[in-house]
Amino acid sequence: MLILTCPYCGITADETELAPGGEAHLKRHGPGSGDDEFHSYLFTRENPRGVHFERWRHAYGCGKWFHAARDTMTLEVFGTYKAQTTEPPKEVRAAITARHPGWSWRDFS
């Protein structure tokens, strides 16, 4: 069972209390953007076998959206953090680097 700690209320919840929301840190595109930008924003995904940043909602708790960094190959959780950010915090990146030296994800690594 996947267990994540909500960075808002601090509750360590198992997945039945949470709702998954897909890949995090997508660059949003709006009016005036080209087809390629819309295509990558709306449809294409990293879907990595390894480090993954994703959105979750504490659906049966405080109700807030947050972010989690996980390994899709081992199910290890590297950390969770608040959603009001455009990139993962230093501690989370350090935890990932400790496990996967040389990992990459957009410009975050």
Binding site: E46, N47, R70
Partner: protein, 414 residues
């Protein structure tokens, strides 16, 4: 290839079964091939088979990182049906279903295809309307389905509880020619036929890089060394994102776990396949007597072939309401596979941004039924550059907004 027959069984019985040959050769990789298919699941093997059979392309290797059929092809619940909604889906799924009807004879391999009939229960007014619409669409597409009454459902499935307190059975979408087949046998049968045409099926050979020159594929690096090719077919289901990354493009696909389970064997009690999409569960009885059960997919990215326990709990809870007699059954085994989900729940059979690289993926929770039809279309696409069966399923449909929305037909995983 020695043919299998009743006579062969009798002959081997008399000589202690010492004369059976290997079903396919354990081949060593050559330096180069005309076509390399990555992934020896059903779709990869069927692609290779129809390349040989329909187009005479036999200088082909199928590379598999694990063992043949060890991916989703060997992990699914084997439901075969073609009662989808959109025309391109009806075309490819019905082609597939009809190929299954005679495939055992064609491959000289018993696939145990059992057209026992598939019911999709309507348990809300919304589903009643949805399935009536599907039945009408299917009539126009030449796919034989009908919307049946609760009384007819009870006749077909005596063990069903029609008057569940929350979701009473209000009818069902019935496809009499749908059914099941032996999943491993589909992979083995195609592999044997491919090997017989001189193709190399190479297990324990993982593709680790895709080599390109000037935007065109030249070969692959593998755990058993580099191999050249002129055309490359990527047919790796849950690992499509990993392979597309090697080729330098991204896909509209996410990989998630889908689970299934089987009960202890019991006496024959249900001779059709029943799917309950609202409550997220489906069930059929295997020839050994086990109840084969499946449910919904997990919601988050996962490559571990292990799913979440609470999904099993939900599925079983739903099925107990619909089939009260299963409440005393013990479950024998549970397992998971990594399925490749697209946003419109339809597959991708397409050219890619890299010349010579083709991809067949996105079958998600429901591609076993599609193996023969998908292989047929993919082979044509790779040999000729286009195929009427696969045209609508191209990668650029997302960019162009040509979705093939099957979220209703694929409402529950199967």
């Amino acid at each position: 290839m020695k043919r299998y027959s009743a006579f062969a069984i009798a002959r081997e019985a008399l000589r202690n079964h010492t004369g059976w040959a290997r079903a396919w050769r354990a081949a060593e990789p050559k330096r180069s091939y005309d076509v390399i298919i990555v992934g020896a699941g059903g779709h990869g093997l069927a692609t290779a088979y129809y390349l040989g059979k329909n187009f005479g392309v036999t200088n082909v290797a199928v590379l598999e990182k694990g063992w043949l059929g060890g991916g989703n092809t060997g992990r699914n619940t084997t439901i075969i049906r073609s009662n989808y909604l959109q025309d391109p889906s009806a075309a490819i799924y019905e082609k597939s279903r009809s190929l299954y009807e005679t495939l055992s004879q064609e491959l000289n391999y018993n696939l145990m295809f059992s057209p026992r009939g598939v019911i999709m229960l309507a348990q809300t007014q919304h589903e009643v309307r949805g399935y009536r619409r599907t039945a009408h669409a299917n009539a126009l597409q030449g796919v034989t389905t009908e919307f049946i009454s609760p009384a007819r459902v009870k006749e077909l499935v005596p063990i069903i509880n029609l008057s569940g307190p929350r979701y009473p059975v209000l009818g069902g979408l019935w496809q009499a020619r749908g059914g099941t087949a032996r999943h491993d046998a589909v992979a083995w049968g195609y592999a044997r036929a491919c090997s017989d045409m001189g193709m190399d099926i190479i297990q324990k050979c993982e593709v680790t890089a895709i080599r390109r020159e000037g935007g065109k594929v030249t070969g692959v690096d593998t755990s058993r060394g580099p191999i050249d090719c002129r055309k490359l077919g990527i047919v790796v289901a849950g690992h499509s994102g990993v392979l597309s990354d090697m080729a330098g493009f991204r896909l509209p696909i996410e990989s998630v776990a889908l689970q299934a389970l089987v009960s202890e064997p019991i006496k024959p009690c249900m001779d059709v396949v029943v799917m309950a999409n609202t409550v997220h569960g489906y069930m059929s009885q295997s020839d050994k007597g086990e109840m084969v059960i499946g449910g919904g997919a997990d919601g988050y990215n996962n490559y571990t072939q292990r799913g979440s326990f609470h999904h099993i709990e939900e599925t079983v809870r739903a099925l107990i309401e619909t089939f009260p007699m299963v409440s005393r059954l013990k479950m024998l085994r549970q397992w998971g596979g990594i399925v490749d989900m697209t946003g419109d729940r339809s597959p991708i059979l397409s050219k890619t941004p890299v010349e010579g690289v083709f991809i067949n993926c996105g079958w998600g929770t429901g591609g076993f039924k599609a193996i023969p039809g998908s292989g047929w279309g993919m082979a044509e696409l790779m040999a000729r550059g286009h195929s009427p069966l696969t045209e609508a399923f191209s990668l650029d449909r997302f960019r162009e907004g040509r979705f093939i929305d099957e979220s209703v037909a694929a409402g529950v995983a199967h």
